[in-house]
Amino acid sequence: MTHYLDFERPLAEIEGKAEELRAMARTNEEMDIEQEAAALDRKASDILKDLYKALTPWRKCQVARHPDRPHCKDYIEALFTEYTPLAGDRSFGDDHAVMGGLARFNDRPVVVIGHEKGNDTQSRIARNFGMARPEGYRKAIRLMDMADRFGLPVVSLVDTPGAYPGKGAEERGQSEAIARSTEKCLQISVPLVSVIIGEGGSGGAVAFATGDRLAMLEHSVYSVISPEGCASILWKDAEKMREAAEALRLTAQDLIKLGVADRVIPEPLGGAHRDSDAAITSVGSMIETLLTELSGLSGEDLVAQRRRKFLTMGARGLAA
């Protein structure tokens, strides 16, 4: 069953009609519906093109959070070989909101880390909806450290609503864990390529995304606060999320203008969830391009350039 977003309602109607028609024809062989169904398909495809040609920032947030969107696990399974998950922070536990381990990317050994949201009720609960606790960040720190010592590039896949707001998470130092993870990103003398594949939610995303290169999928977002959260604070009304999403400049396209993101990865028409394989392939070729760009640099140069990138970031605002 296709999961439609609220703004996709006109599309749902037409696609639903075409589906119904074909179902009827299957039970009644005398009916010739193909012409009519094909007309509906054409109409649906026009609507889809129209809806997605200029998505508003709020709609992009919705697409970025689409439940059928390919998640970290899908990318790891499709793009990496010999993926060997490594678990635990060696201090308290293993956080299933964060995946990570050794793997090969186009044959070269790398460390891959990312947030995983899960794709059904059970896995969503197990993954805590992609909201990491301190253990998740500390596992990532440990893996980045290992990558650094063995000279392996790091690929991070970012997709989180934010760090988990929980009692235990606070008691075990959520802030410190995020701060140390960001610090580790800035310290390692191996390439760090980050891709925002869905939601880049605040500090929980920064902890993994502070790399040499940041690529974003066309309809992914990266923001200091969720549009709903921003709306409830600044507009005193959580329903003003459309206005907040607009004002926050959280789309991949705006983040390029602000000099925060380096590349945008085009998505299949209708969003990554309409053609996961195509989206995953595009992300793979972007990772390859970025790793190749960085492969000639010494560890010292990588660290120096990465720091300079952040120190100079934002100096020119939208004109960057």
Binding site: G166, I178, L186, G203, L250, R316
Partner: protein, 307 residues
């Protein structure tokens, strides 16, 4: 008896009190309800003389009390471009900034200065909660970078007083990018082998806690300061249970291993002198009566009162 404490500080504080609260001679403590005479309160660094409740203190007032004889030189902060996102909610962002500037007399939410404490040269940065909730935007990031650069240039420790509700939403992703930017600043200090001491004051929450405020060599908090990543209300809504008393307060964090010490504001200065001198390999500070500061050592320092 220390002449700085007994003579200079009261004098400076009296100048302040006149300037800051000319008509309000009395302040009611929000904790115990005691009416406190302004002079008594400012002499005690805005700590209630009855119940020790720590009220907010401006960076300028804090620096007057912190630096020897209240003398410090401000470190210039490179000004970022205003309103980088052309942000507008119910008000325009530049209007909110202007209102905060008018209300506080400061440019933005962080003041950076250099000077001496107990004859120990330091660089200090203090965040101003009264300026848009101390929120961290490009200016605050630039201030921390400028503070770290100055500290490295002069070989001095950096003492940072944090106070913020979190990021400056009106600068969107650029406020979030202050987390990595300020982390780079902290790395500069660490690589130069210089102490970085964080004093967490009420409140220090959100992205500020999850970056420079939690990366110190030593973490000291003022009593009962609220310190945390997520807001208590959000946590209660998420986990659907009531949080324990004292949750996210300084003493709670000390118990959970996130802080080194919880120290009363009136004891902070001495403690900072002791710690920085040991970390810098300097002999113990001279205690007891001190001669007046040598004018040669302070001649480049402008008296802060002249501002």
């Amino acid at each position: 008896m220390n002449w700085i404490t007994n003579y200079v500080r009261p004098r400076i504080n009296s100048i302040f009190s006149r300037r800051e609260i000319p008509e309000n001679l009395w302040t009611k403590c929000d904790e115990c309800g005691t009416m406190l005479f302004h002079r008594e309160l400012s002499d005690n660094l805005n700590v209630c003389t009855n119940c020790s409740h720590h009220m907010a203190i401006t960076p300028r007032a804090r620096f007057h009390a912190l630096f020897d004889a209240g003398v410090f030189t401000e470190v210039q902060v490179p000004e970022p471009i205003p309103d980088p996102l052309h942000f507008r909610d119910q008000k325009r962002y530049p209007d909110r900034v202007k209102a905060a500037q008018k209300a506080t007399g400061e440019k933005d939410a962080m003041l950076v200065a250099e000077g001496e404490i107990g004859r120990t040269p330091i660089v200090a940065a203090a965040q101003d909660f009264s300026f848009m909730g101390g929120s961290m935007g490009m200016y605050v990031g630039n201030a921390i970078i400028a503070a770290a650069e100055r500290a490295v240039e002069r070989g001095r420790p950096l003492i940072l007083f944090s106070a913020a509700g979190g990021a400056r939403m009106q600068e969107g992703i650029l406020s979030l990018m202050q987390m990595p930017r300020t982390t780079v600043a902290v790395q500069m200090l660490k690589e130069a082998g210089l102490p970085y001491i964080v004093v967490l004051t009420h409140p220090t929450t959100g992205g500020v806690t999850a970056s420079y405020a939690m990366l110190g060599d030593v973490h000291i908090a003022e009593p009962n300061a609220l310190i945390g990543f997520a807001g208590a209300r959000v946590i209660e809504q998420t986990i659907r249970e009531k949080l324990p008393d004292g949750f996210q307060r300084a003493e709670y964090l000390l118990e959970h291993g996130m802080l080194d010490r919880v120290t009363n504001r009136n004891d902070l200065r001495e403690e900072l002198v002791t710690i920085t001198r040991m970390l810098m390999g300097l002999p113990p500070a001279v205690s007891g009566d001190l001669p007046a500061p040598d004018p040669d050592q302070t001649d480049q320092a402008e008296a802060a009162d002249s501002k």
